[in-house]
Symmetry: C2
Subunit: 251 residues, 2 copies
DNA sequence: TTCCGCATTTCAGTATACAGATTGAACCCA
DNA sequence: TGGGTTCAATCTGTATACTGAAATGCGGAA
């Protein structure tokens, strides 16, 4: 069902990594639960060597935590951790936007960004936004953020943003689907798109401070979505990533 | 000579990781040079399994780069990359300081920071700062930055800062020793310590914006040191980390 | 002399076997 | 009955052998 398509022509290590990540994010491996290599071998069906590699990769992806005496456990996140990760992403994306603005970008490289902007416009124009429009939004939004990050032209910055956004709840589109069930849905979408537009404008006019500030505020929309979703329980099934939330705040 | 002390009672993986890192940072493995597993086995004297682990760890530490066809190469950094990494660290430390200021910290937890401040004061008081005073400064400065990062109280933020500072040229004390050979040495030290003092003051008074701005500017001192050191060649031997600089700008 | 193809060699990916360490339980003694 | 000690089972860390793929070099043909 959730089986990745390209199951063949993939290294065992990657296969194991995907399988384990899926198990963690879907909550089949509970937070704070220890996960032994042999367990992982049973789950993934590959031998210990690639499983070990996959576990190490998942550790520095942030989903696992090394146990001092050896082995790994599924990392637990507090609501605060998630909010901080979002603020962290906003700060880094703000830096990327500022770099782009201050250093200047060619009109040529702004084109795909503006094109993306136009496509999102067409989506948010409909008033009751359809479910599949939200899906398209998730894709386009991810593209927009990726393009913007690239625009910084700074490999170290791009690298760090990618690492933060690897955590599903910190990624730019982490809480968009949760938002779809909220009454404020359309309004938030319009505001988000306005942020997108302002950032591009700021970069074009080389207004670094403005670009940075807007990107920071933009990330805080995700925090708002999260809080709203947590208050309106019942839509949490839209957020598989929240299986990582430690039990003190959830459940 | 540069042999780590605790050579026994260390896992083979860690031993290999340290040995390889040392080889890279000291420039014995040149940037952009491919490094095969078997080569690494010969260098470190351990078997392929722990070597493989060490290579993966060094990859996400940022010192190595995976080659699509398999294997790794020593990552090359441009001067721009290094400057961006410093700005990146400043931005993240700024976030940490802002969190500390906005959320408030107990007087109790500020004590070690102030103690550190006092010790640095005693060092910078001497006018021609001795060579070993610079060494002490490096240690104390690292402690100050670590304490400040901790003060954010945010695990995700601490984690990211640690990852950025893992690159030797992005670490808070990366260019202090280079600075020691400059005529402006004492002056820069005084300014840096003033930044330290202001940040603590800002945190105490819950001035988030001020704390953030000062930490950002503080990081830019490292950028200044780097540029000065690059102009005044001849002291580059104080910066083993610069072996990673790609040949377009150095050599 | 140059280009193409084949063979050889080297290397990464994987599986597995072995050893040391740690954890958990059970039994014995106080 | 409780605590301590010992033994057993399990797990991680490590080494190594095997396999498939990729790169390189050599030889032949055009």
């Amino acid at each position: 069902m959730t089986e990745p398509v390209a199951d063949r022509a993939m290294s065992q290590t990657v296969r194991a990594q995907l399988a384990l990540r899926d198990m963690i994010l879907s909550g089949r491996l509970r937070a704070s639960e220890r996960i032994s290599e042999l367990q992982a071998v049973e789950i993934t069906g590959v031998s210990r060597t690639p499983v070990r590699l996959a576990l190490v990769r998942l550790e520095d992806e942030g989903l696992l935590q090394a146990i001092p005496s050896g082995g790994f456990m599924v990392k637990a996140f507090s609501e605060r951790d998630i909010l901080d990760s979002i603020e962290l992403r906003g700060t880094l994306e703000g830096l990327a936007a500022r770099f782009a603005a201050e250093r200047g970008v060619s009109a040529r490289s702004l084109e795909p960004l503006k094109e993306c902007l136009g496509e999102i416009d067409r989506l948010v124009r409909q008033d009751p936004v359809s479910e599949e429009a939200f899906s398209s939004y998730v894709t386009l939004n991810a593209r927009f953020h990726a393009l913007l990050t690239e625009l910084s032209g700074s490999a170290p910055v791009i690298r760090q943003i990618d690492r933060v956004a690897a955590l599903p709840f910190a990624s730019p589109s982490g809480f968009v689907m949760a938002q779809s069930a909220l009454p404020e849905a359309h309004q938030i979408l319009l505001i988000a798109q306005d942020h997108h537009r302002i950032v591009v404008d700021a970069i074009e006019n080389r207004e670094g401070g403005r670009a940075e500030a807007v990107m920071r505020e933009h990330a805080r929309l995700a925090a708002r979505n999260l809080r709203l979703a947590l208050r309106n329980r019942g839509h949490l099934d839209l957020l598989p990533a929240l299986a990582l939330l430690s039990s003190t705040t959830a459940n």
